[in-house]
């Protein structure tokens, strides 16, 4: 399958990444090689095979509904690059 620069831009947007023209070209080549490599799987006949979606045989692993393993607000904010005492801060979302 042919990878285009337009496709790279689309995937970059889905990935929340942004590339310069030069990077787009480089990633196009890389992805072309990677997709050619994984396309090998099309040779395998998988008609009627259920996809394997879970490792292990456990179902509905439950525990008592007690608060465990939480962190408090101070700890949650600790590693945030931009914050105040209560909130994470982001660029304004709703604009005039």
């Amino acid at each position: 399958m042919e990878v285009t620069e337009q496709m790279i831009q689309h995937l970059a947007n889905l990935s929340r990444l942004s590339f310069s023209d030069e990077e787009t070209k480089a990633f196009k080549n890389d992805l072309q090689g990677m997709i050619a490599f994984v396309e090998k799987l099309q040779e395998v006949d998988t008609t009627g095979i259920q996809p394997l979606q879970h490792m292990g045989d456990a179902v509905n692993v439950l525990r008592e509904d007690e608060i465990q393993g939480s962190i408090n607000r101070t700890e949650a904010l600790k590693n945030s690059p931009i914050k105040d005492d209560t909130f994470f801060k982001v660029p304004k979302v709703i604009k005039k």
């Binding site: 990935s15 990444l17 990677m34 490599f37 994984v38 879970h54 456990a58 690059p81 931009i82």
Partner: protein
């Protein structure tokens, strides 16, 4: 002069040396400093380790019961959380991130008296096979510093190889513990999927990831596994199956077991001729020792690495979406007044190239129009592989192969070719695709001076047999 061979001997040394833990920690701090050029450590917790050694020495001499890992010096791959300490996944995007909780595995090591000495360098987000993808510089193989140590857990492997710690933890998603163990001439083991809780392990591909252990002594690895294994309230995929006395099995000598090897593995065009010959000779040795060793057909070899890359990149894409520059990690601020632009700039500047490549491939296989042809297809192949594995273990007790097709390569040799790099994992990814326990044991030396190992896989949750067989293989 302090020297180390095993936890058992170290503990008897501690019996007659009231300052034994302190001697050990001082020894390792000096060794790490003297081997800085290997770049195996991103950070050494020197003061804290010394303080903990002093406390442990005091507790022991006061007659308190010793934990199973009392005074055992351990280093952690930089993807495992240890509360109050930095963890970066060797990425700029997590530079300055400090863990707010500890991994369950780390809690259990500490509860048995371990001393955590530092963080080991690795490939960024555990994505790589050479430890060249770190944002903090390449790790070097101590046996030959012009060569890679393997990856992604290269720093953890070199830490054990160069005697900079007693044991270390890595993570193994497609071979990231066994492959560097092979390249460095040490033992590297990944247990069954779900044996050790993944809570506090920075996720790469959640249905593949397992914490693994490096050591020079089989019993050490078995003890560490015993300590860390078992169910966990914070990881519902951690198995509730009982934890066996793995250490006991690591001393057993057994024979007569039925062992399979894949014909296609030894016939693969990429295999180094010496590795092929050594493995074939070893198969004869095992037969002479009384094992039944048989070649079986495995028609999947060319499909397992592609399956692995589709599924792991898809899972990685989802796992790495949490790095948004808001809650933690690097944030790009320059001239940005739009939320989406902030995400994009932060992620593009924070993630390295290989990580970005894998995110792109992951989004490709998950995107509308390609989902069924790639992602669902790979899950179906995974199901076929899993069924095939069950059939193999109806007839055999274990599967052996070389760990890697070729010995440690030169730094930079494969860094421009992702696909060539991916093929270094061709013999190891199978265990992760189907969740088997697997170990690489150092048995051989190449004519170029580099070590290589033999990989052994047993059925799900048959770690006891894996250890007993490994011990029987290592025994002269």
């Amino acid at each position: 002069m302090f020297s180390y061979t095993s936890i058992k001997e170290y503990h008897s040394f501690l019996g007659t040396n009231p300052d034994g833990c302190m001697q050990a920690v001082k020894h390792y701090i000096a060794a790490i400093e003297a081997n800085k050029h290997l770049n195996a450590f991103l950070e050494v917790f020197a003061d804290e380790a010394l303080q903990r050694a002093a406390e442990l020495d005091k507790q022991r001499t006061e007659g308190q019961t010793m934990g199973r890992l009392h005074g055992v010096v351990v280093s952690l791959k930089d993807v495992i959380c240890y509360k109050g300490h930095k963890v970066t996944a060797a990425s700029k995007i997590l530079d300055n991130f400090e863990s707010v909780y500890s991994a369950t595995a780390v809690e259990r090591l500490l509860a048995e008296g371990a001393i955590i000495i530092g963080r080991n360098n690795c490939d960024e987000f555990a994505m790589g096979s050479s430890s060249e993808n770190s944002a903090f510089g390449t790790v070097k193989n101590a046996r030959d510093t012009s060569r890679v140590p393997g990856g992604s857990s290269g720093g953890s492997a070199v830490a054990v190889q160069a005697d900079l710690t007693m044991i270390s933890l890595g993570s193994d998603t497609g071979g990231s513990v066994r492959q560097p163990a092979d390249f460095c001439g040490i033992i590297g083991m990944k247990p069954s999927y779900g044996r050790i809780s993944r809570y506090g392990l920075i996720a790469y591909a959640s249905s593949f990831d397992q914490i693994g252990i490096f050591g020079k002594n089989l019993a050490d690895v078995a003890i560490a596994l015993e300590v860390m294994s078992g169910e966990d309230n914070f990881d519902s995929t951690a198995s509730s199956k009982p934890v066996a006395h793995y250490e006991e099995h690591s001393h057993k000598l057994i024979t007569g077991k039925k062992i399979a090897y894949f014909k296609q593995v030894l016939d693969h065009p990429g295999i180094d001729p010496e590795i092929k010959a050594a493995t074939e000779n070893y198969i004869q040795t095992l037969k002479d020792k009384g094992f039944i060793v048989e070649a079986i057909n495995f028609d999947w070899l060319d499909y397992i690495v592609p399956t692995y890359y589709i599924l792991t990149t898809a899972e990685a894409t989802s796992n790495l979406s949490r790095f948004d520059g808001v809650r933690y990690g690097f944030r790009s601020t320059e001239g940005i007044d739009d939320l989406n632009e902030m995400y994009k700039q932060s992620r593009s500047k924070g993630f390295g190239k290989e990580v970005q490549r894998r995110i792109l491939l992951g989004n490709f296989v998950l995107s509308s129009g390609y989902f069924d042809a790639y992602f669902t297809k790979a899950q179906q192949v995974r199901k076929l592989l899993s069924d095939n594995t069950a059939t193999i273990f109806e007839q055999y007790d274990a599967i052996i192969s070389p760990t890697v097709p070729a010995p440690a390569f030169k730094l930079g040799e494969k860094s421009d070719d992702s696909v060539a790099m991916y093929l270094a994992d061709i013999y190891t990814v199978y265990a992760n695709l189907v969740g088997l326990p697997s170990i690489s044991v150092p048995l051989f030396t190449h004519s170029n001076g580099m070590p290589f190992g033999l990989q052994l896989m047993t059925n799900h949750y048959e770690e006891e047999l894996m250890f007993a067989l490994s011990n029987s293989f290592l025994a002269k």
